[in-house]
Amino acid sequence: MSELRSQTLTLLAKDLRLEWRAKARLVAVGVFGLLSLVVFSIAVGPDSKALTAGAAGFLVIALLLSSTLALAESFRIEHERRALEGILLLPVRPGAVFYSKAIANTLSLAMLAPGLSLFGVVLYGVELQPANVVSFFTIWGLAAAGLSAPGTLYAAMTAQLRSRDVLLPLLLFPLVVPVLMASCKALALALTGDPMGQMRSWALLLLCFDLIYWSLGGILFPFVIEEG
C-alpha cells in the first residue's frame, strides 16, 4: 500500500508538472467552459428566472464539456514518445499511474470552479450565499472527481485510437449520468438555498459514486493499458 502511495505521489508530481508546462491547454479548456455558459444563456434567452433555475445544470454541463477536452489531452503526452510504456517497464503498479492521472485531472477540473462559477453568477444572476461557498466548492470538487475517474479510464482506453475525440464522450457521458444528476441537484441547492436540508444527502450520494468509480478505475486500469 505504501509503495502504491509513494509511486502515485511521484507520478502525480510529474503529471502536475506536465500540466503546469501546458498552461495554454488549461486556459483553452477554461475558455471553452466559459463559452459553453454563454451559449446556454443565449439559448435560454432573456428569461432571468429560467436562467437562474437552470444555473446549476448549466455549470455542470460546462464542466462536463470541458472535462472531455482536458481528459483526452491528459493521455496524449503519455503516448507521444510512448512515455507511458516506459513508466510501465519500471516496477510501477498500474494503479499508481491511474490514481496519479485521475488526481491530476480532478485538480485541473476543480481549478475551473472559481472562473466558471463567478461567470455563472454574473451571467445567470444567481446569488451564492457566503454560507454556501464551502458547500458549493466541495460539491464541485466531488463532481470533478466523479468525472475524472471514469474519464481517465476511458481516456487511457481511447488515447491511441484515431476516433478518440468522438469515442471519449460517447463512452463517458452515459456512465457519468448519476454524477451529473447528483451534482446538479446539490449545486442547485447550494445556489438557491437548502431549506429542507437535502444538499447533504445529494453530496453523500455523489461521494458514493466517486468511491465506486475510483475503486473500479484502479482495478480495471491494468487491463485497459495492457497491450495483450
Binding site: 507521444e80 514518445r81 517497464l89
Partner: protein
C-alpha cells in the same frame, strides 16, 4: 544489480523461450522460437525489417503476451508474475519513452524515485555525466537531438541495473563516441554477469561484442551460432 533467485535444481538460465510465437491479427510476427541464454552472455538478434526482432524483445520485456509457447525468466514463467518480471528486465526501445516538457534532470529524478534509487542531485547529475549529458541536465528534453534523447534513455537502462538488458538498435542515432560508450557498457554488463540481448542492423558494431547470434527471417529462426560467424553466414545467404 537486480537478479532473481534461481531454484537450486534448475540450470542458471537467464531466459528460456520454448516454441515462442506471437501473432498480430492474422500475421505471425514470431513463430516457434526456441532460444535460451545464460547469465553473462551477449546475444545478438539479427535479421531484416519485419523479421520479428522487436517483437521478440517486447515479449522478453513482458510488454507483449505470447500467442503460443512459453517464456521463462530466471526460472519463472511470464504468466505467473508479470509485475515481478519487469523488475529483472530493462528495455531500450525504438521509442525514447521520454516526456518532452521535462528537463533531463527531472526525467532522471522521476526514474530514480520510481526505482527507489538515490534522488540526491549530485547522484542524478553523475547519472547524466555517465551518458555524456552533464551540461544538459537543466534543459528540456524537447530541445534534445535524437542522439541526446538516446543517451538519456540509456541513463534509464543504467539506472535500472537489471539482470537482463534488452537493447533494440542501441547504436542508432548515436555518434561514434556514443557508440563506443555503449560498446563499453555492454562489455561491463557481461563482466557483471548480466545477460544482454541486442537487436541491431549495425553488425559491424554488434557482432564483435556478442557471444552468440540468432538470425531471424519472417518470424522464424533461420540460423544460430557464434556471433563471429554471422557476417560469413549473411554473405553466403546474399
Amino acid at each position: 544489480m537486480k537478479v532473481a533467485n534461481h531454484p537450486s535444481e534448475t540450470p542458471p538460465t537467464a531466459f528460456r523461450a520454448r516454441d515462442l510465437s506471437r501473432r498480430y491479427g492474422q500475421k505471425w510476427a514470431l513463430a516457434h522460437l526456441d532460444l535460451t541464454a545464460v547469465p553473462g552472455e551477449v546475444v545478438l538478434v539479427a535479421g531484416p525489417n519485419g523479421s520479428g526482432k522487436t517483437t521478440f524483445l517486447r515479449l522478453l520485456a513482458g510488454l507483449l503476451r505470447p500467442t503460443a509457447g512459453e517464456l521463462e525468466l530466471f526460472g519463472k514463467n511470464l504468466a505467473s508474475d508479470p509485475f515481478g518480471w519487469r523488475r529483472n528486465v530493462s528495455l531500450l526501445s525504438h521509442a525514447s519513452y521520454l516526456y518532452e516538457p521535462l528537463t533531463a534532470l527531472e526525467t532522471v529524478r522521476l526514474w530514480a524515485r520510481l526505482l527507489g534509487r538515490s534522488t540526491a542531485e549530485p547522484d542524478l547529475r553523475a547519472r547524466l555525466r555517465e551518458v555524456g549529458l552533464e551540461q544538459d541536465g537543466d534543459n528540456l528534453v524537447s530541445g534534445f537531438s535524437a542522439g541526446m534523447q538516446k543517451r538519456l534513455t540509456f541513463a534509464r537502462v543504467r539506472l535500472e541495473d537489471s539482470a537482463l538488458v534488452l537493447l533494440d538498435e542501441p547504436f542508432a542515432a548515436l555518434d561514434t563516441a556514443g557508440q563506443e560508450l555503449v560498446t563499453d557498457w555492454i562489455a561491463a554488463d557481461r563482466k557483471a554477469g548480466k545477460t544482454v540481448v541486442i537487436a541491431s542492423h549495425n553488425l559491424e558494431r554488434a557482432a564483435p561484442i556478442a557471444d552468440r547470434a540468432v538470425l531471424l527471417a519472417r518470424g522464424q529462426m533461420t540460423w544460430q551460432g557464434a556471433a563471429r560467424d554471422l557476417p560469413n553466414v549473411l554473405a553466403r545467404a546474399s
